[in-house]
């Protein structure tokens, strides 16, 4: 694979930007330009990779990531199903859309106590992640299902296809690109939901580490938890970006 000159230059500048950012992080930390609460990058990495703390981080990370994953799956499923329902049953469309946007507008910190009552503290993060993902997928799938062109619809009508066949063979494939983009943008939403949920007294997870280390002035621990969450979201986002590229090449 050969890169064009311009493309190679872009990649070089991008890497340069990231390296400069990390160097600035290290420099500010080393010289304590932002006070004691900004640790150098190397300190955070040393803290993160210390074998003694591995069980702590493993426990928190697996708790949070499983909540993120479950919430993501549930939310995606729910969003796609409700979008399909709204698409098929015309009279319900407006009401479902309004309900979804009202639920999305309820601030997560206000939903958390509700879920603590309805479910439990352990599942609150997952529930908020589900709702966050649900809205992104509902919007993406809804606009995707309307993406098939009128010409294609006319063709299907001419051949006497029924509603179900049209959904399966025309509208669903046409909805895929928007759906996959939605899945990509739902990744950070899912992480935010799970972490905010854990701020409300979960007994484990990265969100718990963040809040307790913020209050107890354990700066490297605080930054480490944030770095793990950011890295997780970034890799999932990157993976969805690759899938998105494939789907766009195949279905558009």
């Amino acid at each position: 694979m050969t890169l064009s000159r311009e493309r190679a230059q872009d990649v070089f500048y991008g890497v340069l930007g990231i390296v400069l950012f990390l160097a600035a992080w290290e420099y500010i930390g080393q010289n304590q330009l932002a006070g004691l609460t900004w640790p150098p990058l190397t300190t955070v990495i040393a803290y993160l990779t210390d074998p003694d703390r591995r069980p702590l981080f493993l426990r928190a990370t697996s708790a949070t990531f499983s909540m993120v994953g479950l919430g993501y799956l549930l939310g995606a499923l729910l969003g796609a199903l409700v979008a399909g329902l709204a698409h098929l049953v015309q009279p319900m469309r407006e009401g479902l859309g309004r309900l979804s946007s009202v639920i999305n507008a309820v601030p997560s910190i206000a939903l958390a106590p509700l879920f603590i009552v309805l479910l439990s503290q352990e599942w609150t993060g997952m529930a908020i992640a589900t709702l966050n993902v649900y809205f992104v997928i509902f919007v993406a799938a809804g606009s995707g299902l309307n993406a098939a062109s009128t010409a294609h619809h006319d063709l299907f009508t001419t051949f006497g296809s029924n509603r179900f066949l049209r959904l399966l063979q025309l509208e669903l494939p046409a909805a895929l690109p928007a759906l996959v983009s939605g899945l990509k943008y739902a990744v950070p939403a899912s992480f935010i939901g799970a972490i905010i949920g854990e701020w409300f007294g979960s007994s484990r997870g990265l969100g718990l580490l963040m809040v307790s280390s913020m209050q107890n002035f354990q700066i490297p621990l605080l930054w480490s938890a944030v770095v793990i969450a950011a890295a997780g979201s970034l890799s999932a986002f990157g993976l969805m970006g690759l899938i998105e590229r494939f789907v766009y090449g195949r279905f558009r």
């Binding site: 500048y13 509700l114 990744v187 992480f191 905010i196 930054w223 969450a229």
Partner: protein, 252 residues
Amino acid sequence: MTSLINVLRTGISRYWGVILVLGIWQLWVSVTGVNAIVMPRPLDVLRDLVGNPSVYLHNGGQTLGLAVAGLAAGMALGTLIAAVAWFSRLLSGMLVPLAMIFSSIPVVALIPVIARILGYNLTTVFAIIVIISFFPAFVFTSAGLRALPRGSEDLFHVLGANKMSKFLHLVLPAAVPNWMIALRLAAPSAILSAMVAEFLMGQSGLGYLFRQSAGDFDTERAFGTSVVATMISVISFTLSLQAERRVSARWR
């Protein structure tokens, strides 16, 4: 009389989902008889909202004011840096990947870190909203600065325009529709992050009011806070959506 029925009919066709959820909630609380401390009735929440307007107005106004000011500052900063990056290929090559990284990680999770660095006060809440509004503004404006109408660049070239006049008369106007998308995306998250920040460390505002009333087991007040926050969020989303539609209808 007929107009009243019409209003009622459109209202129900749009909001039947919301009404249904509220109805089920009221019914569930009445039938199971859960203690009002755990879960208040919708009607009691409404009574508290109507009975104590000054508390809600004062705190809601503060949160809204902070969110709007932070949003404006964040959007201005994002636009400014996107414009500077447009003039320099090196700078944009360095900044765009960083901005992409930051828009794919859960920025809300950075709130504990920023709070620890800047201290627990209103300036920090403001800074958090600025940071969170900055990324969508930068990403979408930079994309818009590159999405020029086909052929327009040749015209400017033929007419011998210099880079500055090309920027002012072609590139900047071309970015306006994208800028409106950024505003629509950033507005609800500005309000959400204002509330989360106030919840974690504020001494006033909706987020603080929520934490305080939830801590005092004043659940009606806590749910009333959520209702006010939801209304602010819905209104800001609707306004920015309308502004976006109006602008893109005029611009395209």
